[in-house]
């Protein structure tokens, strides 16, 4: 499953079959118009919430669907500073970057050990890590909370990094494993023959060759870590280090029914997601496919 083909690919439409080319073209045009309308309707809640964020609370309550008469940025200043979303964006980014770095480095090395060692201990390690997929976050929540409490990490962003780095290990091992199995071993052998150690082989052979899968792992994980709410709510909820979804939750609680401010907050939370998504969309699918296929 090639990543690029999922978004941009597909069968090339057959052209010029049959003689009624004008009829065919009109048919295509009508079909496309229908699809475009359906798509706009499907994403309209997102468009609407971005539009709402520029309007005052009263204007929204009076006429939610009316064309805006005046646009203002005041909702955004409220959400950014008073609502604390600026800070939440910063901490979400730090948490996502650190966790993803751990997942690419440690996940890669662990998958390398499991695939290339290939003995019974490696199979046991694989089975042990894969067992983690059977325990969703709710099945681990309470002892994790107690553990973080005893480590004095509740309300500390490090707790979220540790949790995300550990929780997503099985998925990243799975993705790296499926790529490593397809990677020829000869390059590594050649490096060993030249006298390289394991760490040198990892640095100069495995990491560069697995680079596309690292991009896949990173783009899939950034989204999962950024959007996660269940466990971060418990770990950093109410602290100054809340992640974006957690901060959105408290923010909406504070600004009940002040939809202009709320939508400014939602828009601030959504914009980075959309930017990262557009930048990484090709790789995201590859990660999704490889992760779920294995």
């Amino acid at each position: 499953m090639s990543a690029i083909s999922v978004w941009a690919g597909g069968a090339v439409p057959a052209r010029g079959r049959g003689g009624h080319s004008i009829q065919r073209r009109v048919g295509t045009l009508v079909g496309r118009a229908g699809l475009a309308i359906a798509t706009v309707a499907f994403v309209s809640p997102v468009l609407l919430s971005v539009e709402m964020s520029f309007r005052s609370n009263t204007a929204i309550n009076v006429a939610p669907l009316a064309w805006p008469k005046s646009l203002s940025l005041s909702n955004f200043t409220t959400a950014w500073s008073a609502g604390g979303l600026g800070q939440a964006l910063l901490w979400s980014a730090v948490i996502a970057v650190v966790s993803v770095m751990w997942l690419t480095v440690a996940g890669q090395v662990l998958a390398y050990y499991i695939v290339r060692r290939g003995n019974r201990l490696a199979s046991v390690a694989l089975l042990y890590v894969m067992a983690g997929l059977a325990f969703p976050a709710p099945s681990r929540l309470l002892p994790l909370y107690e553990l973080m409490l005893s480590l004095h990490l509740i309300g500390n962003p490090i707790s979220v990094m540790l949790f995300q780095g550990a929780t997503l290990t099985p998925l990243s091992v799975l993705i790296y494993r499926s790529f490593l199995q397809r990677m020829p071993i000869e390059y590594e052998d050649a490096a060993y023959v030249d006298g390289a150690g394991h760490l040198q082989v990892l640095r100069h052979v495995v990491v560069p060759m697995l680079w596309p899968s690292s991009v896949a792992v990173a783009s899939l994980k950034i989204g999962m870590i950024w959007n996660d709410f269940f466990t971060p709510l418990l770990l950093v909820g109410g602290s100054t280090y809340a992640t974006v979804p957690v901060k959105i939750y408290t923010f909406v609680g504070q600004y009940t029914a002040q939809w202009g401010d709320i939508f400014a907050g939602l828009t601030l939370a959504v914009i980075p997601v959309i930017i990262v998504f557009i930048l990484l969309q090709r790789h995201l699918v590859e990660g999704l496919g490889a992760g779920l296929k294995g």
């Binding site: 090395v109 050990y113 309470l142 553990l147 071993i185 269940f230 979804p245």
Partner: protein
């Protein structure tokens, strides 16, 4: 760094005559050549298979960082949940003792938890069916390669990229009384608008619709990948044999999409079983208990009512459900695949 014993092993295949100094006759760079000769005398992969040249295989210590963090923050909490679920530990006390299945029995005999359980199952079935049917329809409509379809695919995935809690709040506004959907209802002369999130009967379907809105993007992407893996010649052959559009869909496309459906169904059912964010953003379990799910109950029992025993038991039950449903999905689709 390679260990000295490993280096000895590597040198074995070539006999190196020791000199009076005890060193190899070839010194300096020559030593490396001897070792290389020893290595290449047996094909590296064969050497691996024969159990020789152990130095070429990564050691267990490389696995330690990843396994270590995983053990402390995933494996330990999972095992501890399974252990405490059989005790009367309340999260604070220093002492506890085994109570057997008591927590499980009281959770399963509680009317509230049974409601949460049936709500969760209803949501799971609704999300899995809704997201996959919608995802398949969009994937089929957008499967041809064109710039137009490329842009539309990205847009159909957009809701999937949002944090679920944000999706929940956006839809809270859309569903709100005299909100946008209400206005659309009036505009289209559909009669009195439903109560949506405020109505006990319509709240859960309204939440399921939000989840479908998000999950269908994933289903579309996975099914598109599956569609693109199908050989175009099969369609051509069916067309030559006189199969119509629906027949080709029924006998060519759908059977070959089974592996993609397996993945997509596992993803959507697990999303349904763990449903939490959207509920918290929209109804927080209400009206009454109409939209309580296992995940919201786990949170409330544990941290609002300090009922840790129930929380642990529900955690174990959710783990069993996730594992069981995923295995069932894979089994169903693989079995059919084998028969096809």
């Amino acid at each position: 760094m390679r260990s000295p014993t490993a280096r000895q092993d590597e040198a074995k295949p070539v006999r190196v005559e020791p000199t009076s100094t005890g060193r190899s006759p070839v010194v300096g760079i020559g030593l490396r050549r001897v070792r290389d000769a020893a290595r290449t005398s047996v094909h590296p992969r064969r050497a691996l298979r024969n159990g020789g040249a152990t130095a070429q295989r990564p050691g267990f210590r490389l696995a330690l960082p990843g396994l270590g963090l995983y053990s402390v923050f995933v494996a330990y909490p999972a095992v501890a949940t399974a252990y405490y679920a059989f005790t009367n530990w309340n999260g604070l006390a220093q002492h506890w003792h085994f109570v057997g299945l008591k927590n499980f029995v009281s959770v399963l005999s509680s009317g509230l938890e049974r409601t949460a359980f049936t709500n969760t199952l209803e949501a799971t079935v609704g999300i899995a069916l809704g997201a996959n049917i919608l995802g398949l329809a969009i994937a089929l409509l957008l499967q041809k390669r064109s710039r137009f379809n490329y842009v539309l695919r990205l847009l159909w995935f957009l809701p999937a990229a949002l944090p679920s809690i944000v999706a929940g709040y956006i839809w809270t506004f859309i569903y709100s009384p005299s909100g946008p959907l209400d206005k659309v209802w009036v505009l289209l002369h559909l009669g009195a608008a439903p109560g949506f999130l405020g109505s006990p009967n319509e709240a859960l379907p309204s939440i399921i619709a939000i989840a479908i809105w998000q999950v269908s993007g994933y289903a579309m992407v996975l099914l598109l990948a599956g569609l693109q893996a199908i050989d175009e010649q099969l369609h051509e052959a069916a067309r030559v044999d006189g199969a119509g559009v629906l027949q080709r869909l029924r006998f060519v496309t759908l059977p070959l999409l089974r592996p993609a459906f397996a993945v997509s169904f596992v993803f959507s059912t697990v999303t349904g079983l763990l449903l939490f964010d959207v509920v918290v953003a929209t109804t927080n379990g209400g009206p009454g208990y109409a939209t309580e799910t296992l995940a919201t109950q786990l949170y409330k029992q544990s941290f609002e009512y300090n009922n840790f025993g129930w929380g642990m038991a529900m955690g174990v039950l959710m783990g069993i459900l996730v594992l069981g449903v995923s295995a069932a999905m894979l089994w169903i689709f693989n079995r059919k695949e084998a028969r096809a």
